[in-house]
C-alpha cells in the first residue's frame, strides 16, 4: 500500500492513506492533540469539541497551499507531503486554550464531588491548556435532573456534548433510546420523555464519557479513583459480543468498580456487557491477570499532575498550585 508522508511539528512519519492527522500524531506519540469527542472505535465521532484543531501549513506536495482555517485533526485525513503545526503554532495553542475556556464556562467545576475526578479528560485538558481564572461572570447553565435507570447516573451540567455516548449506543447496542434534545447551549443528552436506558451494553456510555456526565451508579460516592487499585482480569462471558476483559478497581480486598480496559489514549479497548460491569463484583467471579498500568499523566498514576509530554512552545499555565512557593518541591505532593 502506498504510504503518505506527513510532518507534524517537525516530526516526519509515513502512514497509510485514509489516516487522520490525529491518528498519525498518535503513531508518532509526541505532541498529540487532545481529543474530547473523537473516539477511534466509534464511527462518525469527532470534529465537534474542537480541542484537537491544528494548523495545516502545507496541504500536500501537489497543492502546497495552507488551509485557511484551523482543522479538526481527528477528522482531517493526511495528504502526501502535508505539514501540520500543532504545539509549535502559537495560534493553535491560543485557539485551543480558548476552546478549553469555552468548554469550562458552563461546566460546574464540581471536581471535588465528581466521581470522574482523577480520570477526567476535561480535567487533564484544563490543567494542560486552561487559564487560571475564568472571565465568565454569569450564571452557569444547569439542567433538570433526569433518571435514566438503575445503573447510569446522568449529570447533564457536566456534559460537554461530545456525542460519544450517542454513537456508542447507536453502534454497539441495538436499541438507542437517548440522543441530543434541543439545540445551542440548551442542547442536552437525554432520553425522550425520560425513558430509562436498559440494554446489555448501556454501561459503556460511562467509559466513553470524557467527563463526569455519565457515571456508574453502583460506584457513586464510594471512593476517589486515585485511592483505588486497577487490576486486569477476565471471565468467560456468555453475552454475545462481550469480550469479558475488564479492569477491576480494588479498595482493599473489595472490588468497588468494574470498567472496560482503556488504552493510553483513554479509549476503551473492548466493550463489555452490563453483567460484567455491574453484577460481577467478587474476586471469585474473575480470573486475575495482574495490576493494570495506568497512563502516568493521569492523577491515578502519579497522585499529582505533571505533563508527561514535552512542554509546548507556549507554556500553559499548568497548575493552580505550581506557582506557590510551598509547592515548588514536588516531593511534597507525593503522599
Amino acid at each position: 500500500m502506498d504510504l503518505l508522508k506527513v510532518t507534524i511539528d517537525g516530526i516526519e512519519i509515513e502512514v497509510p492513506a485514509g489516516t487522520t492527522i490525529l491518528e498519525a500524531a498518535r503513531k508518532i506519540g509526541k505532541n498529540v492533540p487532545p481529543a474530547m469527542c473523537y473516539y477511534s472505535k466509534l464511527e462518525g465521532s469527532g470534529g465537534k469539541c474542537r480541542t484537537c484543531i491544528v494548523k495545516v501549513s502545507q496541504g500536500s506536495t501537489k497543492d502546497p497551499r495552507p488551509m485557511p482555517k484551523p482543522v479538526a485533526s481527528c477528522r482531517t485525513q493526511v495528504m502526501d507531503g502535508m505539514v501540520v503545526l500543532n504545539e509549535t503554532s502559537p495560534e493553535i495553542m491560543e485557539a485551543r486554550a480558548s476552546v478549553v475556556e469555552f468548554l469550562l464556562i458552563n461546566h460546574p467545576l464540581d471536581c471535588p464531588i465528581c466521581d470522574q475526578a482523577g480520570e477526567c479528560h476535561l480535567q487533564d485538558l484544563g490543567y494542560a491548556h486552561g487559564k487560571q481564572k475564568t472571565r465568565y461572570e454569569f450564571k452557569r447553565r444547569t439542567f433538570d435532573k433526569i433518571d435514566i435507570g438503575p445503573y447510569v447516573q446522568l449529570h447533564m451540567t457536566r456534559c460537554i456534548l461530545c456525542y460519544r455516548c450517542v454513537f456508542t449506543c447507536d453502534q454497539i447496542t441495538n436499541d438507542r433510546v437517548h440522543g441530543v434534545l434541543n439545540r445551542g447551549d440548551s442542547a442536552e443528552i437525554s432520553t425522550y420523555i425520560e425513558k430509562s436506558i436498559e440494554n446489555d451494553f448501556s454501561g459503556n456510555v460511562i467509559d466513553v464519557c470524557p467527563v463526569g456526565a455519565l457515571t456508574d451508579k453502583t460506584f457513586r460516592f464510594k471512593n476517589r479513583v486515585w485511592f483505588t487499585k486497577p487490576v486486569n482480569a477476565h471471565r468467560n462471558c456468555t453475552t454475545d459480543k462481550c469480550s469479558g476483559k475488564v479492569q477491576l478497581w480494588y479498595k482493599g480486598n473489595e472490588v468497588i468498580r468494574v470498567t472496560a480496559r482503556k488504552d493510553q489514549w483513554g479509549e476503551v479497548e473492548e466493550f463489555i456487557c452490563n453483567t460484567c460491569r455491574f453484577e460481577k463484583k467478587e474476586t471469585t467471579d474473575w480470573v486475575i491477570e495482574g495490576p493494570a498500568k495506568v497512563d502516568n499523566k493521569s492523577v491515578i498514576g502519579q497522585n499529582h499532575y505533571e505533563l508527561s509530554y514535552d512542554k509546548p512552545v507556549v507554556p500553559p499555565k499548568i497548575s493552580l498550585f505550581a506557582d506557590h512557593p510551598s509547592f515548588k518541591d514536588d516531593s511534597k505532593f507525593i503522599n
Binding site: C49, I105, N106, G184, D185
Partner: protein
C-alpha cells in the same frame, strides 16, 4: 431603470399559473436546454460568471463542475430556500410571486447536473410558499415538464418540495442535507463536501433560489449575454432586500454596479432615509456581514464611490469593507443604537446555534450575555475588549460558518463604533433611557 431578469414579469396578474407564465416565455429554457448536452449548459453557466446568491458568492458554474460524475451514483440538485438570514427576504418574495421561474431553473439546472431527483428545501416558517411551489410543481408535471421523459427527450426528473422546521442552521448546506434526510439539522464535518457525498450520500449540489432562478435567462440568452450585465466579476442582477430606516423598504432587483449612494437615496430604490434623518450605518448583506458606518459604506477607503457588487463591497477587507452576502441591506438612521442592534443580532445567533461544536455553542451565549450588560448599564470598559476577544475566539474555530457569522458583526461594530460602546459604559443612565441615542458628543432624546 436597470435591467430586470428575475422580477421582469413578477407583477403580471396570474403569473403564478402555468399558462400565464408560459405565455410570457416561461419554460423556453427547458426546451432549449434539452436540445443541448448537459455539459453545454454547464459551460453557459460558467461563461455567465453567475455567482452563488446565498451569501458566499462562489461561482455557480464552477460548483457544478465539481460534482462527482465518475462514481456513477445518482446525483441530486437541492435548492436552498431556507432563507433565514435576518434582513434577507428576497427568495420568499420571488417564490411566492413567481414560483415557476424557480421550477424552470430547477429543471434546467438538474438537467445540466444529470440529476433525476431534486429537492427544494423551504424554510419552515414559509409554509404558504411550500403550497405555492407544490401547486406550480403539479402544474409542471401536468404539462410534461416534470416526470418521466420530459418533452420526449428521454430525460426524467422528479422534483420534491419539502420544508424545514424553522432552524436558521438548516440554511447551511450540510445541515440542510441532514434535515432533508430527516435527521437533526447539524452541519456535517467537511470534507467530504456535498459534491462528493451529499443527500443520501450521493453527489449533490446545493444552490440558492436566486442562483437557480437566474439559470433560465442564461440558457435562453447565452452566458456571454448575462456576463455583459453587471460589473467586473459581479455579473448579472441581484435581488436586494432593503429594510430599516428608509422611505421605501422592499425587494429591489439591481444591476450589479449601482452605487450604494444611488441605491439608498434614489427614488427608484430605497428613496432616502426616512423622516429626513441622516444615515448612520448599513449592514449590507444580511446580519452576519460586518456593519459599516455611513462614510465607509458610501465611499471606498480611496474616496471612490462604493458600488453594489461583490468586489466593491468587500474592498478593504474587514478593516474598511464588508460583504454583499445574501443581499440583506439594513439601513440605520442616526437614532439607531448600534449596541442594541448588535445585542439583537447576537441574541439571534445564540438562539440559532445548533450546539454541536463548543466555541459556537458556548461562545454565542457568552457574547449575548456580555452585550446585554451594556443595555442594562452594568458594562465596564473591559467588557468591550472581552466581547471582542470572545468573538475572535469563536471565529474560524467552528465546524460551520455560523460561528463566523456571529463573530463578524461584533468585531466590526466595536471597531467602527467603539465610542458608542464607551458611552454605554460611562453614561449608563443616559444611554439606557428609552429613545436616547448617541451622536458623538451630546445626548439627544428622540
Amino acid at each position: 431603470m436597470g435591467i430586470k431578469i428575475l422580477t421582469k414579469d413578477i407583477d403580471v396578474p396570474g403569473i403564478q399559473n402555468f399558462q400565464v407564465y408560459r405565455s410570457y416565455g416561461g419554460y423556453n429554457s427547458v426546451e432549449k436546454a434539452l436540445r443541448m448536452t448537459p455539459d453545454e449548459v454547464v459551460e453557459e453557466v460558467k461563461k455567465s460568471g453567475l455567482r452563488g446568491r446565498g451569501g458566499a458568492g462562489f461561482p455557480t458554474g464552477m460548483k457544478w463542475s465539481f460534482i462527482d460524475k465518475k462514481s456513477g451514483k445518482p446525483r441530486h440538485l437541492v435548492c436552498n430556500a431556507d432563507e433565514s438570514e435576518p434582513g434577507t427576504f428576497k427568495d420568499r418574495y420571488l417564490m411566492s410571486k413567481n414560483p415557476h421561474i424557480l421550477i424552470e431553473g430547477m429543471i434546467t439546472s438538474s438537467f445540466a447536473l444529470g440529476a433525476n431527483l431534486s429537492y427544494i428545501y423551504v424554510r419552515g416558517e414559509l409554509m404558504y410558499v411550500v403550497n405555492i411551489l407544490q401547486r406550480a410543481i403539479d402544474e409542471a408535471y401536468a404539462n410534461g415538464f416534470l416526470g418521466k421523459n420530459i418533452l420526449g427527450s428521454g430525460y426524467d426528473l422528479e422534483l420534491h418540495v419539502t420544508c424545514g422546521a424553522g432552524a436558521y442552521i438548516c440554511g447551511e448546506e450540510t445541515a440542510l442535507i441532514e434535515s432533508l434526510e430527516g435527521k437533526r439539522g447539524n452541519p456535517r464535518i467537511k470534507p467530504p463536501f456535498p459534491a462528493i457525498s451529499g443527500v443520501w450520500s450521493n453527489p449533490t449540489v446545493v444552490n440558492n433560489v436566486e442562483s437557480i432562478a437566474a439559470v433560465p435567462y442564461i440558457v435562453n440568452n447565452g452566458g456571454e449575454e448575462y456576463a455583459k450585465i453587471g460589473i467586473g466579476k459581479s455579473t448579472g442582477t441581484k435581488l436586494i432586500s432593503a429594510s430599516g430606516h428608509i422611505n421605501k423598504p422592499g425587494v429591489y432587483e439591481i444591476e450589479m454596479g449601482v452605487t450604494v449612494e444611488e441605491f439608498i437615496y434614489s427614488e427608484e430604490y430605497c428613496g432616502g432615509i426616512w423622516k429626513g434623518r441622516k444615515l448612520k450605518a448599513v449592514v449590507a448583506g444580511g446580519s452576519s456581514v460586518p456593519i459599516l458606518p455611513a462614510n465607509l459604506i458610501l465611499k471606498l477607503a480611496n474616496g471612490e464611490p462604493r458600488l453594489m457588487s461583490y468586489e466593491s463591497l468587500s474592498d478593504g477587507g474587514f478593516a474598511t469593507g464588508t460583504m454583499l452576502g445574501s443581499g440583506g441591506f439594513i439601513v440605520f438612521d442616526e437614532t439607531a443604537s448600534i449596541v442594541h442592534n448588535l445585542w439583537n443580532f447576537e441574541r439571534f445567533y445564540h438562539h440559532e446555534s445548533c450546539g454541536q461544536c463548543s466555541p459556537c455553542r458556548e461562545g454565542t451565549g457568552w457574547v449575548e450575555k456580555i452585550l446585554h450588560k451594556f443595555l442594562d448599564g452594568h458594562a465596564t470598559m473591559e467588557d468591550i475588549d472581552l466581547v471582542a476577544d470572545v468573538a475572535k475566539k469563536i471565529e474560524g474555530n467552528t465546524i460551520c460558518p455560523l460561528g463566523d457569522a456571529a463573530a463578524w458583526p461584533v468585531a466590526s461594530a466595536i471597531k467602527h463604533f467603539r465610542p458608542e460602546f464607551e458611552w454605554y459604559v460611562t453614561n449608563p443612565e443616559e444611554a439606557c433611557k428609552p429613545g436616547a441615542y448617541y451622536t458623538g458628543d451630546k445626548l439627544v432624546l428622540a
